[in-house]
């Protein structure tokens, strides 16, 4: 029982990290799966979400509304990126890696110029603790987990059960055939990109009260998110969840025993080995 009391906060911390990472990875994987585009600016979209919520809260907007607005704002940025940059490069997917990297540099530096390189902290909407049996745990983290899980499930349902999801999956699997059947593939692309961007923005907004918000925070989430989708497999949403569970969970838990640096090295090495052994990911395509 004592062991469980000691363990429970660690496991809950790991779970909240995994859920936020899953939001980032899910945004990444719908863009990668649908357009074959590796979006290296995804971490910066996440960062923009955190800045947007910090700004809005500073203006007096209530936190939860600010988080929703941040997701919308970052989605709008995604619309612009898709229309101006991504769709032009559709025929050269590998070049999108480079172009989005240039964009990432510009976004990061734009934020440095606008708000300065220093990090800022944001207060959580509540600093209450919830008593769960023998332990007490910050209420905000519980809200965060519930909301992240809800959004994840909603996104999965969107792709599995709605007409938009069906056309998106069709455009993903056979773009030519989908176009022949009258689906406006380009429009589906743009919507999906916006959705992925909004998910990244939401993830950034939700995690903003828990970490320090600075212009370089995106990189720290981008690499783990990519490793997650490659470890789990980019062909299915289950793969994303498995991948983030392994990468995010191991990173978060190992950080308690080893230094965060050593934990990251171990997790990255294991992830690279896993990708090498099973390039299609642990979860096979359905």
């Amino acid at each position: 029982m004592d062991a469980m009391i000691a363990w429970a906060p660690l496991l809950l911390d790991a779970l909240s990290f995994v859920l936020v990472l899953a939001l980032v990875s899910l945004g990444l994987v719908v863009i990668f799966g649908l357009l074959g585009v590796i979006n290296l600016a995804h971490g910066e979209l996440f960062m923009l979400g955190a800045y947007a919520v910090a700004l809005a809260v500073g203006w007096g907007v209530p936190f939860w509304l600010a988080a929703a607005l941040a997701a919308l704002a970052v989605g709008a940025v995604g619309w612009l990126i898709s229309a101006v940059l991504i769709e032009r490069l559709a025929a050269r997917p590998l070049d999108t890696i480079l172009a989005t990297w240039g964009l990432a540099i510009a976004l990061r530096q734009g934020v440095v110029l606008a708000f300065g390189p220093q990090s800022r902290n944001l207060d959580a909407p509540t600093d209450a603790d919830v008593v769960l049996g023998a332990i007490s745990y910050p209420a905000y983290r519980l809200y965060l987990m519930a909301l992240a899980a809800t959004v994840l499930i909603a996104t999965l349902l969107l792709f599995a059960r709605t007409r938009f999801g069906l056309t998106a999956r069709a455009a993903m699997a056979r773009p030519d055939m989908a176009a022949a059947l009258g689906i406006d593939v380009r429009r589906v692309w743009r919507r999906t990109f916006v959705l992925g961007a909004a998910l990244a923005g939401l993830a950034g907004a939700l995690i903003a009260p828990l970490i320090s918000v600075d212009p370089y925070m995106g990189l720290g989430f981008l690499v783990p998110a990519f490793l997650s989708i490659l470890v789990g497999g980019s062909a299915s949403f289950a793969g994303v969840l498995v991948g983030t569970g392994i990468v995010g969970g191991a990173d978060s838990l190992l950080g308690h025993w080893l230094s965060p640096l050593a934990a990251q090295i171990v997790v990255f090495v294991v992830a690279v080995l896993a990708i090498r052994v099973r390039p299609t990911g642990l979860v096979r395509a359905p």
């Binding site: 490069l89 070049d95 990297w101 110029l113 050593a262």
Partner: protein, 327 residues
């Protein structure tokens, strides 16, 4: 024969102009340009691996850094092998270390089908991050502080005169450039182009795609390692930033902006961008990085052959109207 490279007269012109640098620009710039020459060589190594062989490596600085750290460890006597404390012997061993490391990484990445395309970019990126974190946490390697006080190359009598070192480095760069250009104009160069454009056909013709990929990767790693070892000796300092993701991404920008498939364009772009950075980062301050990011993005979108190589390709196209377009 496909020779996409710059014409030899242009390369001669570039190297002649570089040879005039010490007499025109003075000692400070000669010292800086000596470093930029090595970044140019480093960029040429990536042009071979990525532009020619089509291996999008997001971790090319791994080899630059391994060469640099090996050089620092040997000449500082941290790894105490008296025979190898001599700068030139240490240089040879540093290149060997980078070459073997590239072989190891290459075999890991490519053996038995291996990883390619977008996955390769992510995995090499992750490897560069791992290596940088490892160095940052490794006390013997100086951790975050790096290794300082690396002795300079034993060139010339007066250590304060940057010119002898500059000329030696320029000679090394010129010889290596000529060697790489000849290699790419040879049969092997054609095979590398085929590796990028049509690996299936290459397999069909009886070549081993895996062996060719590893060969290109190892040659690129060796050149990057040499550039790194010489850089550390010139700069007197091996720091974790030389081995990681940041420099890997930077060299990719130089090569993409110059022209990924033209060695000379990549070499020159690295030098010009460093010079521009020295001048403009004072004038533009923080705006310089923003401008570089946007320029990089626009160049990839609008001039994928690179800003320096695109005019060269026009030149070629005008002279030989029937020549095939570069892929």
């Amino acid at each position: 024969m496909s020779r996409w490279d710059a014409p030899p007269w242009l390369a001669l012109l570039v190297f002649a102009a570089l040879a005039a640098v010490p007499s025109v620009l003075g000692d400070y710039w000669t010292g800086q340009m000596a470093r930029y020459l090595l970044f140019g060589l480093f960029a040429a190594s990536l042009a071979l691996v990525w532009g020619r062989a089509g291996i999008l490596c997001f971790g090319q600085a791994m080899f630059f850094g391994v060469g640099g750290y090996a050089m620092a460890l040997l000449t500082l006597g941290v790894v105490d092998i008296p025979v190898l404390a001599d700068a030139w012997a240490a240089l040879g061993l540093a290149v060997l270390a980078a070459t073997l490391f590239a072989l190891l990484v290459g075999v890991f990445l490519f053996w038995g089908g291996g990883i390619s395309g977008a996955y390769l970019a992510i995995v090499t990126l992750a490897l560069a991050v791992i290596l940088e974190q490892l160095v940052r946490g490794w006390y013997t390697l100086g951790a975050d502080n790096g290794l300082s006080g690396v002795p300079p190359l034993p060139v010339g009598d007066n250590p304060w005169d940057p010119r002898p070192t500059y000329y030696v480095l320029l000679a090394i760069a010129a010889v290596l450039y000529a060697g790489l250009a000849m290699l790419l104009a040879s049969r092997f160069g054609v095979l590398l182009t085929a590796l990028r454009t049509n690996p299936q056909r290459l397999t069909y013709l009886g070549y081993s795609v895996v062996v060719l990929r590893i060969a290109a990767f190892v040659i690129g790693g060796a050149v990057a390692g040499l550039a790194g070892a010489l850089f550390v000796a010139t700069d007197a300092f091996a720091s974790p930033s030389l081995i990681g993701f940041a420099l890997s991404a930077e060299v990719l920008i130089w090569v993409a902006l110059g022209g990924r498939s033209v060695l000379l364009a990549a070499f020159l772009a690295a030098i010009l961008l460093r010079v521009a950075e020295s001048y403009l980062s004072e004038a533009l301050g923080e705006w310089w990085i923003l401008a570089l990011g946007l320029l990089f993005m626009l160049s990839v979108a609008l001039a994928p052959h690179g800003l320096l190589a695109t005019p060269l390709l026009w030149l070629r196209a005008r002279r030989k109207p029937k020549g095939p377009a570069p892929a």
